[in-house]
């Protein structure tokens, strides 16, 4: 036997290709494969998957935003910070309103005017809310809505002050008549 098979094959290199390929048939297959249009399935699939993913995500986001907007019925529904601010304002307004209500009813012209203004502030607040529902969050509408609370507080304080004045005047006139 050969001492070294490596040497044996080196010497027989010219003879070692003993198998005959089917040249024409193999070429036919190679040629067919080379002429086939290169469809980069993997690349196309990954691009399609990314596109579907993006469309799905955008669609979901838009739908979610639209649903969220449609459900907004106060500033508190927009974010936590606004919720805190609005709750604080509502508490202050309620306290003042309770105070105003607890005072004896006095029918004066100014009271009616101020109550009309409160109703107008409700309309402004609702307009701001509708604007956010239709066009999404916007800073200007939020500021206007928060401002309605400030104005409400001032109007109620004014109402309370007017009632106190009227009461004082009534008390004085009673003392004088006595």
């Amino acid at each position: 036997m050969p001492d070294s098979w490596e040497e044996y094959f080196e010497k027989k290199r010219a003879e070692q290709d003993v198998y005959e390929p089917e040249v024409q048939r193999m070429w036919h297959n190679i040629d067919k494969e080379l002429k086939r249009p290169a469809i980069r399935w993997r690349s196309w699939l990954s691009k399609a998957a990314i596109a579907v993913g993006v469309i799905f995500a955008v669609g979901w986001f838009v739908r979610h935003e639209m649903m969220m907007q449609a459900q907004i019925n106060s500033l508190a529904a927009i974010n936590k910070e606004l919720a805190q601010q609005e709750t604080s304002y509502i508490n202050q307004v309620n306290l003042k309103w309770d105070e105003f209500k607890s005072m004896p009813s006095v029918d004066i012209e100014l009271d009616r005017m101020l109550l009309d203004e409160l109703a107008l502030l409700d309309t402004i607040y609702n307009n701001g809310l509708n604007d956010i529902k239709q066009h999404g969050y916007n800073e200007r509408a939020v500021l206007i809505m928060l401002d309605t609370y400030e104005k409400r507080l001032r109007i109620i304080e004014r109402l309370i002050s007017e009632k106190r004045k009227t009461q004082k005047n009534e008390n004085k006139s009673q003392q004088i008549s006595i």
Binding site: M1, D3, W5, F9, I30, L34
Partner: protein, 181 residues
């Protein structure tokens, strides 16, 4: 010789431009040695044909990356070997069979036998177990080093050496029987 090199260079340049006739010329020149490389590794005609076809398709598609035309033969052979080993791995033909080495009796080396008919030797090699045949072919015929064989086949260098030793033992055993029959 220089004319032949010049011609090959021209063929390669035309292949790079997508010339079909040049491709065919290159194919005709190299198909037999490449088919034999694949056959020796895979041990059957069908797998060898598939691998050679895939290798030529790959080579023609990537021929622009071939910088040095003199390296064409080794470049092409490397593609064929890689494709063949890839198929072997897919078919899970490489097995760790070192434990069977001792079952084959040692045969005394009595003489150099350059006169051994190559066809008979090749036929005997094809009868070797897959792992042993692949390692033996890559090492003894294709001229790869053991570390290269290990890298190609995904086995350890020691395992490759064991497979090679086993192949040699079986070959010597089989050929001695034929030679002295």
């Amino acid at each position: 010789m220089s004319q032949s090199i010049n011609l090959t260079e021209q063929i390669i340049e035309r292949c790079k431009c997508g010339d079909e006739r040049a491709r065919y010329a290159l194919y005709q020149q190299y198909v037999k040695p490449m088919y034999n490389v694949a056959y020796r590794i895979l041990g059957n005609q069908f797998d060898a044909e598939d691998v050679v076809q895939d290798a030529f398709v790959k080579a023609f598609k990537k021929i622009n990356t071939l910088k040095e035309f003199k390296a064409l033969t080794s470049w092409l052979k490397q593609i064929v070997v890689n494709e063949a080993i890839s198929l072997v791995r897919k078919q899970k033909k490489m097995q760790l069979i070192s434990e069977y080495v001792d079952e084959v009796p040692d045969v005394e080396v009595e003489e150099m036998a350059d006169g051994l008919p190559i066809k008979q030797v090749m036929k005997t090699i094809q009868e070797l177990p897959d792992g042993a045949r692949i390692v033996f072919t890559l090492r003894a015929i294709e001229g790869y080093r053991f570390n290269e064989v290990a890298e190609l086949t995904g086995q350890t260098v020691n395992n490759c050496k064991v497979q090679f030793h086993r192949a040699k033992k079986i070959l010597n055993n089989q050929l001695k029987t034929i030679l002295y029959a």
